[in-house]
């Protein structure tokens, strides 16, 4: 199996797929009741869950690679 892209900050290892998945079917891992941000930080980040915090950041390399720019 090829290396998966590394998770962003806080994503951790939450969310589990079944041990055996049928080929050619899409799966969405169920969220687990994991760590939470404080109310203040949740409002700032737009999510209560560190595991779901995916800030968009466009790196220079991505910009150079993006054909649509």
């Amino acid at each position: 199996m090829p290396d998966m892209p590394s998770q962003t900050e806080g994503a951790g290892d939450q969310g589990r797929l079944p041990q055996f998945c049928n080929l050619a079917e899409a799966y969405v891992p169920m969220q687990e009741y994991g760590p939470q941000y404080s109310p203040e930080e949740a409002l700032e980040r737009g999510t209560l869950w560190p595991a779901l915090y995916r800030p968009f950041s466009c790196r220079l390399k991505d910009k150079e690679d993006a054909s649509w720019q």
């Binding site: 169920m30 969220q31 009741y33 109310p39 203040e40 949740a42 409002l43 999510t47 209560l48 869950w49």
Partner: protein
């Protein structure tokens, strides 16, 4: 940074409203999760307390029958959201 007590109160309400919203969404897909339910109820209670405090100290948050207006008609009186600095 907050500039006045009303702004602080509104900010506090936003925080707990967002907590309740996030836990609400979790419970939509995990309705049997007791910890999530307890946290949701705590957030909802905190939000309601802040709501009641706002209406007591500042004024009605909703019109059309959702909030009472004891004494006089308070709805057109400020501060409006644009006056709270949020």
């Amino acid at each position: 940074m907050a500039v006045n007590p009303v702004t602080d109160l509104v900010r506090e309400m936003q925080k707990w409203h967002f907590m309740a919203l996030e836990l609400n969404l979790f419970l939509d897909t995990h309705p049997a999760n007791r910890r999530a339910l307890e946290d949701y109820n705590r957030a909802a209670r905190r939000f309601r307390e802040l709501w009641e405090r706002y209406e007591r100290e500042v004024g009605p948050l909703m019109d059309h029958g959702f909030s009472e207006s004891p004494g006089d008609w308070k709805w057109p009186k400020g501060p409006w959201p644009i006056n709270t600095g949020i």
